[in-house]
């Protein structure tokens, strides 16, 4: 599945910011296998961009197409299907079930459209250093740990694109590398693409294309 942008631009950002952007108001096509990096300072609309792509916000002009279909015409069921099969995400604000355990957070996603066996979840958690936290409540984990939980959660389903919104902001360099390696392996396994939005070029991410927002 390809994602196409047709003159996409937020309705709430100043005209000069839009005209100077390599993304806003342009026609773009993202294909599986590509590693797209979108760089912008705070307040330029990175999170809005990711949310537009995920279909969570509609306050934009222009169109977004999943496999040539305009997502403006999607209903809640269409989005649910794509979010189970074709598009996965790591939110900047993580959006975890804080009252549930780490394992419950991961399983509720894995069981929806299982891509891996349950044992793989433990393996990934061990690899990112949160194996001992699986039965702890999410709210008791540090922000860095929660970021890793969100990353592992995003890798439990099949997808053509993985959307990452400042996914490593609270990780040290060693953990960034571990997380990036795991992500790239999983993306490779699915022959999928990555669209990563961050403040600056992300370490350890071998982007095939980089755009300034």
């Amino acid at each position: 599945m390809q994602i196409q942008l047709q003159k996409l631009a937020p309705t709430f950002i100043e005209e000069e910011k839009i005209s100077g952007s390599q993304v806003w108001n342009n026609d773009m096509v993202f294909s599986p296998g590509e590693k797209i990096q979108v760089i912008a300072p705070s307040g330029s609309g990175k999170t809005s961009f990711i949310h537009f792509l995920y279909g969570m916000r509609k306050d934009h002009t222009g169109n977004i197409l999943y496999a040539d279909k305009n997502i403006a015409g999607f209903n809640a069921e269409d989005f649910a299907t794509h979010r189970q099969r074709s598009v996965s995400i790591v939110f900047q604000d993580l959006r975890l079930f804080t009252q549930q355990t780490v394992l419950q957070n991961l399983e509720i996603k894995r069981q929806l459209a299982p891509y891996h066996a349950a044992t793989k979840v433990m393996e990934m958690a061990d690899r990112l250093g949160i194996g001992s936290k699986l039965n702890k409540y999410c709210k008791t984990c540090s922000y860095g740990e929660q970021q890793r939980i969100a990353i592992i959660r995003s890798l439990q389903q099949p997808f053509d694109f993985l959307l990452l919104d400042e996914p490593f902001s609270h990780l040290d360099d060693a953990n960034r590398k571990l997380a990036m390696d795991l992500i790239e392996e999983e993306v490779e396994l699915r022959k999928a693409g990555i669209i990563l939005a961050d403040l600056k070029a992300t370490d350890h991410f071998n982007a095939t294309k980089t755009f300034n927002l």
Binding site: F97, Q100, I108
Partner: protein, 395 residues
Amino acid sequence: MNLSFHHIAPFLTTGQNKLSRWLSYIGLGIGVLLLLCSIQMYININALLKNKDQKKDGYDYIAVTKNISNENMAGSHSFTDADIAEIKNQSFIDDAAPFLSNKFVTKANGGATLPFSSDIFLESVNEKFIDTLPASFTWKEGDNTIPLIISSDYLELYNSVFAPSRDLPQFSEKSISSLLIGIDCEGLGGTQTFRGNIVAMSDRINTVIVPESFLKWANRHFANSTKAEPNKILLKTKDANNPDLLTFLQQKDYHVNKDKTRFGRIKQILQAIVSGLAGFGVLVILLAMVLFSFYLQLMIARSKENLQLLLTIGYSPAWLSKTVSRKWIPVYVVILIVTVAVTAFMHWGFQHFIMKDNENLSPFIHWIVIAVAVVLLLISVTLNYRLVKKLLYRL
């Protein structure tokens, strides 16, 4: 998706507000029980108070007249063609026929066998309404003998009261046909004497019936009258105790033999009581369902953030609505099984202990009761599903 409610249960705050949930279950149980028992009793009343008398062909025949009160004594009390058409038009009346009566003076005497003489009346009605119609019940102009059909009550009265008091012979149904009665008709054309011959007894019609052809001729001949102007109508109905029929007769202020519709009046009252109970049952069910909908709304409001997040990570709102609302199907099924069982038990107790195994009542509950229970289950489940779906799509 091989997911079930079990997977998402930890993400919903279902355990809260147990009291309102249990109150709604109990309310629903009581309401459904009231409704099912009322329906069964309604059916029982119909079965028990069905008038089985005088139903040789499965119909009841009742004669109606217009009520005569002090206020309307002076006016006409005959039925117009429009009245008859309206009567025939009622769904609970299968047919109706007017009685034609004599409009001239008629006297009868018993001849040599029975030394008595009396003024009498003659009536006729469409032959298909007569229960005992012999082939000899015909008359044509020039015939001197008139065939008569009289009410069997008359023979009974004669044999049991009149004959012993006057020391007259008593008659059997067969022997009375040999009796020759003199019938004198007086009017414009003078007096003419006919011979009356009783050819049959009727349990249905409480009068003296002569062939319609005779009465039409005689009314014209002796009274110069060709108008029917019937004062009495014979109704043919499947059930003389049908409350709709009674209501119609009451509305039109028609008079009917109270005894024939006595069960109907009792039934009307009992059905009103039972309908009231059923209405109360429906009200309780509605209240219970409203209470349960509050519980569902509260649960969804309390789980709002988690439900929103489930939708965000790819859970389908349709699947969530179905799964959340299905969770209560077993509870509803249990409530209905228990209420149907209690209704069946109460009905059996009523049939066995109170009605002493009355053969008009089955010891088992009527299938309609079970059908209503199933329909209620479907309605409850559908309403819950729609409510949950609406709330989820609103998130």
